[in-house]
Amino acid sequence: MSLLVVGALSSLTAASTYALMNTESTNVLNTASSGTLTLSNTVNSGSACFSYGAGSTGNTNPGCDALFTSATLNYPGTPVTAKVKIKDDGSLDVGTLSIAMSPCAVAATPGAPAPGGGNPCDAAGDNFALQETDSSWNPTFCWYPDYSAGACTVSAGTLNYFSTNAPPANPYNLSLGYPSGPVHAATRYFQVIVQLPTGASNTLQGEAAVFTLNWHIET
């Protein structure tokens, strides 16, 4: 009887304590990498400004070059143009490119001897147009004011209207067909055009319009 008990214990011990046969394999180094969605912004012949570059926060760069400076003086009926290249610098295609304008504010032109007291941001103020072009800067589509293929009718639009209707809370979607792009590594070309109306009042002399354009992309 004693022998039987010892035998039973041995059996149980063997089953629970001693290693049985086993085998194992591991699939290692599985990797999954996310892409990037970043853009660069180049004004005229300036340096490319990257969304993630110096001065940026969270893929937003508020410090890119200004389109115009107060050194560029406007005259009635004479448009001034800034050329802007928006490039998808990331690895993912852009699904939506949009633009928004912060509220336009009037300021005295630095050095102006006698500001006229008018406001170029008013409805009777500066004309404004957003023109898309090909890489040679030939007009392809007018986003504002015409919203049609070809060149913009600059005199038909105003800073006042655009800033009111394309604020940051309601950006203007620059989609044209699908994919709206630019796709990765591709560039879209725009001209931002401003002019004093041909019949501008003297009150707009010596007055400057100050505004900010935000370019925004999403997948």
Binding site: T23, S25, T31, A32
Partner: protein, 515 residues
């Protein structure tokens, strides 16, 4: 009387001679047989692991010399993932076969342990201050126990510093090597929940309140507030460490709590589940997802702290053996969907032109499905600026590998084979899923806790938990099982995913058989 005594003695002598010597002296007949050369041969329990149609990876013959192959091929190498966009390549087929002669009664899957293998031999008897390794899978904390194994030889070192994923050396507290460990010896961080290497040094009595445990010399490090799980047979209990403990400590202080069972010394193991398995680790990409594009290292808004991409990427493991489906991990498991489907989003092309018009339970031929489509799911078909939606018809569950969908709805446009079909229902379910991440899989399903027992699948969404064989021997019809491993980068509504740009997660999956 004397004569009688002599006679009796004489008879005894004769009897003795007859008993001991008769065989050789008197026998006329004899017979004899011999069973020579009997051999007792043990069986084998080995396995193979194949990714898609790649090279078969065998457990036997691996450099570790212990029937463990810690370096089978990676299943996934995915680049340029975007939130909410299913990749056609985001899944891989893994075939596991019992190549031995013995049935496996248990077949497990779990997160790979933190570790690697020696990339250079250790000299027996030499003082070792650094372990040269192939790229480290996971990350190691200072003070972790690092187990080196080659066949029956083992030695535990203590990490002298934290080591990041992909590192090729582990600094350790100086110790003489107890064996000449060759290249390929396995290196495992046993402090990462991967092995039950800590035991009680004194028993706990059921119902008695304890504020400290006596333990065998601690392997690893415990921090105040860590959750300590005791395990003995079917009994488990979690205590909270009230103070830290260093390697070699013989007691742990815990918040007082009555033992819910009797826990014997020696055989009661415990693990610190707060020391999560850091198998999955993140790094910034050093190559752009496309030629010339920005890469992770260019960006300043994608910190690696806490392995955020591992914590966001969703993982699923879908069994597909023999046309029977079961979702072992991912959305669709726990509780298991009745149809056995993981939420595995598809991205496929039609294999023929698709005409516009009304579809009513119409068969739509597509490339082999790289996911699942459940009846009732909304399908989106797009090509250029065109897009339409269809519905997978009732009873039309379509699983991995299916070559057609059964759709209903009205197409306003016609499409070519360049169109893409996705499942917005599956994607929607995953976009709000924060549970089935790789990090959570690592924590919940590591080598110690939560190993997933891969019971035989008897029907879609149904397993047999009583079948004594989970992977039959090589000559059986049940020796092979197939799985689809996949990931998806979710796009949670209203959440900016910029911090996940340009990151790469690396992780491993382990398959284990027991006799």
């Amino acid at each position: 009387m004397v004569k009688l005594k002599s006679l009796l003695l004489g008879l005894m002598v004769i009897g003795a001679v007859a008993y001991f010597g008769g065989g050789g002296t008197f026998a006329s007949f004899s017979a004899e047989t011999t069973n020579p050369g009997s051999t007792i041969a043990s069986g084998t329990l080995t396995m193979s692991d194949q990714v898609n149609s790649g090279t078969v990876c065998a457990s036997a013959g691996a450099a570790s010399a212990n029937n463990v192959n810690p370096s089978c091929a990676s299943a996934l190498t995915l680049t340029n993932l975007a939130p909410g966009v299913p990749s056609p390549l985001a899944t891989a087929k893994i075939t596991i076969q019992n190549t031995g002669s013995i049935d496996a009664s248990h077949f497990y899957m779990f997160a790979a342990a933190v570790g690697s293998s020696l990339s250079a031999a250790l000299t027996g008897g030499a003082s070792i201050t650094s372990l040269p390794i192939a790229a480290l899978q996971g990350s190691i904390n200072s003070g972790d126990s690092i187990l080196v194994t080659y066949g029956p030889h083992t030695q535990t070192f203590v990490a002298g510093a934290a080591v990041a994923g992909a590192a090729t050396a582990i600094p350790v507290t100086a110790q003489n090597a107890n064996f000449a460990y060759p290249i390929g010896s396995t290196v495992t961080d046993t402090s990462g929940n991967s092995l039950p290497n800590n035991t009680l040094g004194a028993p706990l009595t059921s119902g008695t309140s304890y504020s400290s445990f006596t333990i065998a010399a601690l392997q690893g490090t415990i921090s105040a507030g860590d959750s300590i799980v005791l395990m003995s047979g079917v009994n488990t209990q979690t205590y909270i460490a009230s103070a830290g403990a260093s390697p070699g400590a013989t007691s742990i202080s815990v918040t007082a709590q009555a033992a819910n069972a009797s826990y014997p010394s020696g055989t009661t193991t415990f693990v610190d589940i707060s020391k999560t398995n850091n198998n999955c680790y993140d790094a910034k990409t050093t190559v752009g997802g496309t030629a010339g594009s920005s890469q992770g290292t260019d960006l300043n808004f994608n910190p690696l702290t806490g392995n955020p991409y591992c914590s966001a990427l969703l993982l699923y493991v879908q069994e597909t053996t023999g046309g029977k489906y079961y979702c072992w991990a991912g959305k669709g498991s726990s509780p298991e969907t009745a149809n056995g489907m993981c939420a595995a989003p598809i991205s496929v092309n039609p294999t023929g032109a698709v005409s516009s018009g009304v579809k009513s339970s119409t068969s739509l031929p597509v490339g082999a499905l790289n996911g699942n489509v459940a009846a009732g799911d909304t399908l989106v078909i797009t090509e250029g600026s065109k897009t339409d939606t269809l519905t997978e018809s009732a009873g039309g569950d379509a699983y991995f590998g299916a070559s057609s969908l059964t759709v209903s709805g009205t197409l306003a446009n016609s499409y070519t084979t360049a169109a893409t079909i996705t499942d917005s229902t599956a994607q929607g379910a995953l976009n709000s899923d924060t549970t089935d991440t790789i990090s959570n899989f690592d924590t919940a399903h590591n080598g110690t806790l939560g190993k997933i027992s891969l019971y035989p699948v008897t029907a879609n969404g149904t397993v047999s938990t009583t079948n004594p064989v989970q992977l039959g021997n090589a000559s059986s019809a049940t020796s092979t099982r197939t799985f689809q491993l996949g990931v998806y980068m979710s796009a949670p509504s209203g959440t900016n995913q910029n911090p996940l740009q340009g990151l790469s997660s690396t992780f491993g999956i382990t398959w284990h058989l027991d006799q």
